[in-house]
């Protein structure tokens, strides 16, 4: 439940004991809230970078908010697994394991990277806005198509990747 201050401001926190998330036969996530069937729902992160599994907004398919789940970990194990899987799918953020080259061409930057074991090339236009170094030491890169990529721990990445990326992290 939300605290009194948040309740007064109309923030509807859902009681984790009353929330049950599962998948229907078509693979979509559905919710029952205190035994009431809410149908298909959508899960949205309030703080995608800092707290990916806390303060999760639950809305219907037309984006009308049903409420907020403060901590996913407070849900029962089945609901927790379903919610985590859904969020990781909805927030597609492939992890860059290595940057092989960054080539500047007339003001745009072409990245050649390795994601998992696949080569992935993409272009970045406004590099100072497209690369973000977050306080938790991860790096987020957005390309011209609107895709996002992550380097979860900048300190642990290979030296070459660090050297190539460092000039753009300020």
């Amino acid at each position: 439940m939300c605290d009194k201050y948040s309740q007064a401001l109309n923030l509807e926190c859902l009681n984790p004991d009353g929330v049950s998330l599962s998948r229907n036969k078509n693979g979509f996530i559905i919710m029952t809230l205190n035994g009431d069937d809410k149908g298909r729902v959508k899960l949205t992160r309030a703080f995608p970078n800092d707290m990916p599994y806390s303060f999760i907004g639950v809305t219907d398919i037309e984006d009308r908010e049903i409420g907020i789940i403060r901590q996913l970990s407070q849900l029962d194990s089945n609901s927790l697994a379903v919610a985590k899987e859904e969020l990781d799918k909805r927030y597609f953020l492939p992890e860059i394991s290595q940057i092989n080259s960054i080539k500047e061409k007339m003001g745009s930057f072409y990245f050649e990277t390795t994601i998992g074991n696949k080569k992935k090339n993409f272009a970045v236009k406004d590099i100072s806005r497209s690369i973000r170094f977050t306080p938790d030491n991860s790096v987020l890169v957005s390309d011209v198509d609107g895709n996002r990529y992550a380097i979860p721990d900048f300190d642990k990445i290979k030296r070459k990747t660090k050297r190539l990326l460092e000039p753009y992290l300020y």
Binding site: N24, N26, G27, F28, I30, G39, R40, P48, D60, I61, E62, D88, K89, R90, Y91, F92, L93, P94, K103, K105, M106, G107, S108, Y110, I115, G116, K118, N121, F122, A123, K125, S128, D143, V144, D145, G146, N147, R148, E166, P167, Y168, L169, Y170
Partner: protein, 720 residues
Amino acid sequence: MKAPYAKFDLTPDGALCDGTLTFGDDIFTVSYENGGVSRFPLNGISQARQFTDIGCGRLELVPENAPDDGSENILLCRFSMSHVIQIGELCKVVNHYIKSGELLEISDSEMHVCSICGRHLIEGIDVCLFCVKKGYVFSRALGFFKKYLPVVIFSCILMVLSNLLTAVMPIFNQKILDNYISPAPGTTVFFDSQFKGIAILAFLMGLTFSLSRVLSIFSGRISNRIGSKFSNDLRIMVYDKIQRQSLSSISKKTSGNLIKRITKDTEVVKEFFNEQGRYLVSQIVILAVSLSMLLRTNAKLALLVIFPVPIGFFAIKSFWSVIRLRYEKQWRADSRATSILHDIIRGIRVVKSFGNEEREINKFSSASRSLAKISASNEKFWALTFPLVGNFITIGEFLILFFGGRMVLKGTLTLGELVLFNTYLAFLYTPLRWMSTLPRRIANASTSLVKLYEILDEEFTLKDTPLPKSLNAGGAVEFKNVEFGYKSYEPVLTDINLKINPGEMIGLVGHSGAGKSTLINLCMRLYDPSLGSITIDGTDIRDIEQSELRNNIGVVFQETYLFSGSVWDNIAYARHDASAEEILAAAKAANAHEFVMKLPDGYDTAVGENGHSLSGGERQRIAIARAILKNPKILILDEATSSLDPETEGKIQEAIARLTENRTTIAIAHRLSTLKNADKLVVIEKGKIAEIGSHKELMKLKGIYYDLVMAQRQTAKLKK
């Protein structure tokens, strides 16, 4: 016809894959790279619906009679944002097929990939930056220069002559030294003839020098004159193109970006062709002359000085990439510190009112410290490496002193020849140093050129038809099956069918983001609908010349923009030939006349940039006067009174009542009371017309409009 298809790259579980989605024979075929294939029949499907998540999207089929919550939808495929446009196109094609039975082709332009390397093209840049050839970039730019080419060639010839004359001067030096000051042993010379010889050579040297300077000054003057004209032509060409582009093309770029292209990029191109082009010619001449003179004077010594040059160049090139990255880092740190400063200074009232001075001081100090650290490290690196490389290239100078001096002592080289050699050596290093910075200059110029080509090559998305129909606007407006989205994969308006009779006032009502402003943008033809048509008096607006269409439509926006100039200039913006009496009458009708007359300079008052010397209500009344002066058949009011106090709004409502008389009016207002005079209210909800009727009819219906009215009454009560 090829079956419509789209690529996708995610499995239903969100793993990366390569897949193709094809639609044909009323069946969707989803095939994966590993050979897996699934088929979904279209039978019983009401629509295909694309959803965008964060960094990805999905395509679902909505079965007929399925519940609204989407729980019975069928997930066809998931995809990253790289495929969103193509999937969106396929979705549109399928939905059109479901409605009409007609199967359209997917347009290739929507695929937006480079045909050579397959890389995605960057939005707003139609050429692939990876594949575009620098040669093409520059040869095309020469085309802009064409009409000035004879004069430019003349200027280059003058420059070459000036350089040749400068290159001759060391020979005079050598002659003075070898023939008169230090003649070869055994040569008999007389003081008088020596003095005369020195005087003649010194005179010739002075003459050559003066002539060289005069030619150089002439060349510079011609070049500057041509440069200014060229830069002016280029600026006007780009500006003209931007003015003629559609709003959708212009909106893709920020105003700062467009201004930079008109001012900075044209200047970079001018500078490159005007200055660097001229230098290139002259530096090549100097290089060729000094090299040949060095070889001619003493081939062995010449080879001695030339050998470190390629090694030095290679070293510079290698250092350059390191230096570039280091300075890139410094540039970003600098930019970050400046932006923090800019942000804090602009928001200083907020900082102070929240008492956050300490926090902001720390934020800026940290950015500034970081900049200082990077900058010191770069200075150290630069101070250590560059002179080393520079000295390595010019190591020949020291070698010459040693070997050349020895040759003079042995008598195999004269003193004059040694001096001549050293002078040409200095000549040789100037173009070499300049050329080492040439790649960077070429890169800068080609970047600017490509950005200018983007503007110049952009096709007009809203073209006038070759045989436009004239508009005798009675003012009947009709939307027929209109569908539109700013992004092809995200429809904002669907199934819009609306008939507005001449002289009728329509009020558009709905939640924010419902599509009301989009509807009026389409009516003004700032965009074209992706499906359906809009007619005025039965003529499709795409068949009417845009200037004529807009002459018949007057608009008052919520955010009024006034240009720098007088009140008079701003009202007359609607009709430049308006008489003084017409302007006064329009201002009077707009309830503006009263306040304008109180101003010390009356209608001659300068309103300042965006009318900053006037209040919001005053600016709005001038905008209404502008619309009245235009006397349009169709009037569009987009939240024209929403941000005003009740008294000012009352005055503006009076003005609007005069303005809307006998005109077809489409008005958007959040404050529903302002639409009390509307003949018909149209409620837009999620891009569709949800309700149409008079105030009474809609209140009886107890639908969306009723809810909106009730919500506003509740808010009004709370305010009291």
